[in-house]
Symmetry: D2
Amino acid sequence: MSRISVRNWISSIADRGRELLDLPLSTPQDSYRPLANLCRDLVSQKGEARGTALAREVVRMWENLPATDHLKFFEMMQNDFSAKRDAVIKAADAYKADPTEANLAVLTLASEPARQELLRRINMAPGGTRAIVDMREALIDLLKTNRHLEPLNADMQHLLMSWFNRGFLELRHIDWDTSAAILEKLIRYEAVHEIKGWDDLRRRLAQDRKCFAFFHPAIPDDPLIFVEVALVHGLADSVQALLEPEIDIEAKTRANTAIFYSISNCQEGLKGISFGNFLIKQVVEELKREFPQLTVFATLSPIPGFMGWLRTRQKSKADDADQAAIVLDTMSNDDWINDPERTEALKRPAMQLCARYLSQGQRGKSPLDPTARFHLGNGARLERLNWLGDISTKGLRQSGGIMVNYAYRLDEIERNHEALVNDGKIAASRSVLQLAGN
Amino acid sequence: MSRISVRNWISSIADRGRELLDLPLSTPQDSYRPLANLCRDLVSQKGEARGTALAREVVRMWENLPATDHLKFFEMMQNDFSAKRDAVIKAADAYKADPTEANLAVLTLASEPARQELLRRINMAPGGTRAIVDMREALIDLLKTNRHLEPLNADMQHLLMSWFNRGFLELRHIDWDTSAAILEKLIRYEAVHEIKGWDDLRRRLAQDRKCFAFFHPAIPDDPLIFVEVALVHGLADSVQALLEPEIDIEAKTRANTAIFYSISNCQEGLKGISFGNFLIKQVVEELKREFPQLTVFATLSPIPGFMGWLRTRQKSKADDADQAAIVLDTMSNDDWINDPERTEALKRPAMQLCARYLSQGQRGKSPLDPTARFHLGNGARLERLNWLGDISTKGLRQSGGIMVNYAYRLDEIERNHEALVNDGKIAASRSVLQLAGN
Amino acid sequence: MSRISVRNWISSIADRGRELLDLPLSTPQDSYRPLANLCRDLVSQKGEARGTALAREVVRMWENLPATDHLKFFEMMQNDFSAKRDAVIKAADAYKADPTEANLAVLTLASEPARQELLRRINMAPGGTRAIVDMREALIDLLKTNRHLEPLNADMQHLLMSWFNRGFLELRHIDWDTSAAILEKLIRYEAVHEIKGWDDLRRRLAQDRKCFAFFHPAIPDDPLIFVEVALVHGLADSVQALLEPEIDIEAKTRANTAIFYSISNCQEGLKGISFGNFLIKQVVEELKREFPQLTVFATLSPIPGFMGWLRTRQKSKADDADQAAIVLDTMSNDDWINDPERTEALKRPAMQLCARYLSQGQRGKSPLDPTARFHLGNGARLERLNWLGDISTKGLRQSGGIMVNYAYRLDEIERNHEALVNDGKIAASRSVLQLAGN
Amino acid sequence: MSRISVRNWISSIADRGRELLDLPLSTPQDSYRPLANLCRDLVSQKGEARGTALAREVVRMWENLPATDHLKFFEMMQNDFSAKRDAVIKAADAYKADPTEANLAVLTLASEPARQELLRRINMAPGGTRAIVDMREALIDLLKTNRHLEPLNADMQHLLMSWFNRGFLELRHIDWDTSAAILEKLIRYEAVHEIKGWDDLRRRLAQDRKCFAFFHPAIPDDPLIFVEVALVHGLADSVQALLEPEIDIEAKTRANTAIFYSISNCQEGLKGISFGNFLIKQVVEELKREFPQLTVFATLSPIPGFMGWLRTRQKSKADDADQAAIVLDTMSNDDWINDPERTEALKRPAMQLCARYLSQGQRGKSPLDPTARFHLGNGARLERLNWLGDISTKGLRQSGGIMVNYAYRLDEIERNHEALVNDGKIAASRSVLQLAGN
């Protein structure tokens, strides 16, 4: 046996750490005691001896735990697997007295709650990562009415963020040769423009479309996020056109523009861990390599906060409060979309208000609109507004029928991002700025 | 765009965290400034905007950093990427005043040094994980004379332990169909019984042998640890016999015993992160599935600390100090192995002392011999001592020519482990105990 | 350059053969001349020099050839790429005079039509095998009204039979992890019990079902034949029950019987090349390995010729002609299936006639019913008849609502096959024989 | 059961054919009778019923057949599995009387010896293709002294040529990530410039080298042919330089020339089935795609027949007979290579003779030199002669130390090939022609 690790400064710290992990004193009176006991075994010496067997058992019991016991289980995790208060305070005092890196190391270790080690050990089981993502999904659901569980949520998010590091993710091209088991999940997860069955999916994987997804090696058959791309000629202005069944069989040679028309996160349990930024940028690079003739990479996005903002705007003291009121009034019935006259009359005032909302609507430095916040935060710029770009009921009610293109130019991304974060400056094309009346 | 994460308690903590990460004030006067600057950019907003591009550049510069600059680089990582002292103290005071889980969460976050986030971001690059493992290898080397870098080492080990969690590892069967690129690494990494070129390797992958290794998905072409197994009939008593060229072509049907005769860690940079325990247990399960007729799973191991212990023993007040002195004296020249008379005369006293060393030699509860510490700590038991089990020069000088079998019985592992850890009780067969004279 | 083949007896024969291939004299007046010319180039020296380029062009032009030109194309292949008459006659005379193996070899070579070499060269192109299978599908369609093309068909079948040799086929397990591109083809090719979309398919791939297919390496994404299997407890008696949506999630442990309820050939162009025999036997072996508890392997098959035979029977002089007439009359309206009284009254006479049809109906030694001919020819035996086993319209009109189980017992297969082929003896269970009144 | 093939014209022919296959009458008195009997069973009805089981047994028995019984086995295959003489003569007479395609089809079928069907059925077994290739290797070895087995050889070659059709081959890139099992075979099969162990092999797979091989899906772990390529700057003139250990790490960007310096057939049993032509052309295409900057594709080849030709030349009446005599005399001792004076004096006359040998030495239209015959026959042209291009002992004794570059230009290949085949015109560069004195 070679290279057995010798006792050193590290492991002595680790030993001290292990003491801190030692078991909590609380005596739970709960009915889910077997799972709680298993968790205790798992972070104890038994966990070291029996390797993954205990972790496997925890996963199995979690999977069979009734949803009604979830709350108690999470409270147990949070309360019974905390840090050792005395050790934390002692380490904190030492650091306060002498803020060396060595003292910081002791404090860092002491203040890490035992539940982090518990989660790391659960993760040893086959299917452990999947189970932890599922746990967090259940926890997020409970959080709405149980804010006291935020610390547990913070620990889970911290670990998942580390484990789902970009460096561990695998980008895969999704097409009709992908397994039905994965394709079926795309149908289920699509959150922007519903996939209406296998025929619709097949159309979205035809030769004038592309689809990419991130996967994690520990959850190999379930995507984390995916993006759907249309290869078109010229900036797309209507999502209904993109979803039509005709396939452009010459797209691969003719297309000069890649439109990211849908991007969906798949795992509720990974909320707060952002993949979209990485995905879009890597897909831009992939597409550039495969289709050198592509020159424009842009989204075709909804403006989900626009109609809500209009309602606030009409009650405000802004100069265009009346304009907002008129637009809202005309749009109050979805019928307007079928009346060419009303549609034409609405175009100018609605587009102008929307351009203002997107290019000026900010809370602090951050854009008001959630989709804008995402893409502008990634370094994209507001490129063009498209009147009647989405005439679905959802499109009318949220976005006033308007869609927006955010353009990704790799050489501008950093500059745009920094201007927004440092100065609150939103990158926008001349045409959008003119429309907004600047 | 769907499911944009909304501001909540978590992200507000995360924001506070991000402030804490904000850049250090120190002004380094070092020559490796470009890499230091890149690291700063990477944990700043630039790092968020430019995705993996910055991380890739850090990896590239690290790979080209002269070894003479490693020390300065690591000192920079440790000193410039610490925690924010004031924030730590404030959070510690709050926790002291009111030790709630919420206050603990703030402290946990505040006391995490910024270098952890730096490492996580380096890990985003292609090859980032490999680079961090290499960094740690260089750091461990420097640590011997630079103990002040232990805190940085602790942070690296903490992250690597989380990333190289058992749940993320992949067990692979290694055979002659494995790529030359990987096989070549086995030759290089074998640390117990040197592989003497491709012919020797090929013999170790023949039909009466098995080889298994753990891999991590982010380092897919480089094993973390591997174990070599011989399928034999009856407990093997000599490693030279196992290394001989004759292949037992009927082993797959005849063998009743699997001998783990060599296990080697491959990555110096993962020191202190234990894989051997998991590997052995999973390989036992794999072999049981493939060869149901196997009934015994045991190692054939050296006793690397035996001769050293003898030298201590002869100077001690122990009853067998004289016996130790005689054995040592006779073995002082390697020639004894060629003299049947001396060999025969040595057998009884040497074996007895060795049985005592292994079954009683403990510091606290922990076995003295490092290999014993590993296997007994895993829950194996001392099964049998083999006189002249290893007559290589190394075998004579470290182990007095003796080898030991540690037996793994899945149903005893936990009991053995707990008896050792709780009571310092070493599991041993009746024959070993008798030999030791108990 | 090593091992250049030297001129020898073989190659001198080959040279003589090449002369025979030399170009035909006919002067076609057809409009598809470019493709004909390409074919000539391909079997000439140009074909040797330009390797696969010419073959690729032939494939491309074939794919674009209008269906209206298929007949002319095939006539050209048959007439312009025959053997050299004089050379054949000369070789035949030599063999007649002196029937040595050497003279036979010359004759074998001389009498091989040049179209075989043409087809072998077309096969060099990427997609060549696919193209030849498609050609034969088109040819088979034309054959109905153009029997004079049989010689070309015979050559194609001869080559395809050699290329689709069992040794080159790959058995694959089909499940929900299979690509959508392949699964979609199962939906299209299922010829026995229509697959009604993706949900139905998914049910047929659930954990109590199995599906296996043969593939050829040159057509890797298109199955040649596939079989659907239900894992059940006891011999299945109704196909409607098998197609129901409820999944038996414990089938893998509980099932003792594998029912082959559907087997479909996929490639019209491979007509006359039998895969079913091999497929069923290999699947029996695969299932036995995976589920050792399975003891019965049987089909649940239609009796497609039964109702037709009844119509012949009623007009015959057989003792049961009247019985047949009554059954036919009662079944003349599909409504009988909804009338318990009529259904009950029909059962005995219909089942008896059916048992006679299956166990005695033969033309020469060969069973009359095509499905019986296939399974009994493979060595299966008639196991059981199932009243109301298929109450679909098709089932009523072809099989009188009856289904039959053919049982495959590996140790009986050869005996059953030989008894049928040599003595015309049909293997049947005692119960079927009793029902038939023997 | 669907699409059961119905009796038609084809199958009636097939039935007639099957009769012809019926068993031979000869009664062998040989000791290998069990294998002969199995072969008989295999082509009989038993072969149809028991599927691959019988074929598997034939393969197993062949593998265990002592080499001393090979001759008898092959004689049995040739004599006992011929065609039916009467049926052949009857079919030949019918064709003679009325040479229709239908009559030809009957004759084609009748004159096919039963051993072809036997071989096709052996091929159904797992490992069947491998076994047949091995059989042919053994047969070729025996042929030297047993020319009467040529008809069997012709049948084997005919079938193997059809099965190893270019369309079924898979081109694979071989590098250090390839399995050791395959790499080891390259070491064994290299026939031009011996690979001296794993280090030498590794150098030949470094980043300035490429290696490609053809594989057949039924023999997936054993190459059929492979070619080694050096990526260099300018036409290589010495093979010793190419085999040196220094690696040009910038080759991938700097190289403008691909030198095919070694091409080896791997399977003796596939002798006479040419892969080299296809391999070189496809590798040219692969390299062009990966390295667009490559402009020259050429071999660096020995001239294996040169020294032999010189010996003939000196005895001839040719004008340069004396020149040949002098060159031969000077080269009679390998020492000349170490004497700069002799080396310099030899250069001009030896190179001139060699240029004549290569550009004019023909038997009929075919080049005399076997390597020239291969490359010029493929459409390459004689590009340049290299004095002292191969100073190994083998190089001196066969090629007088000279090597030649044959250049492959895709747009000239067909023209060069046709000029050679039709007019016996060898394509050569101006410099070679000038050297030859034309």
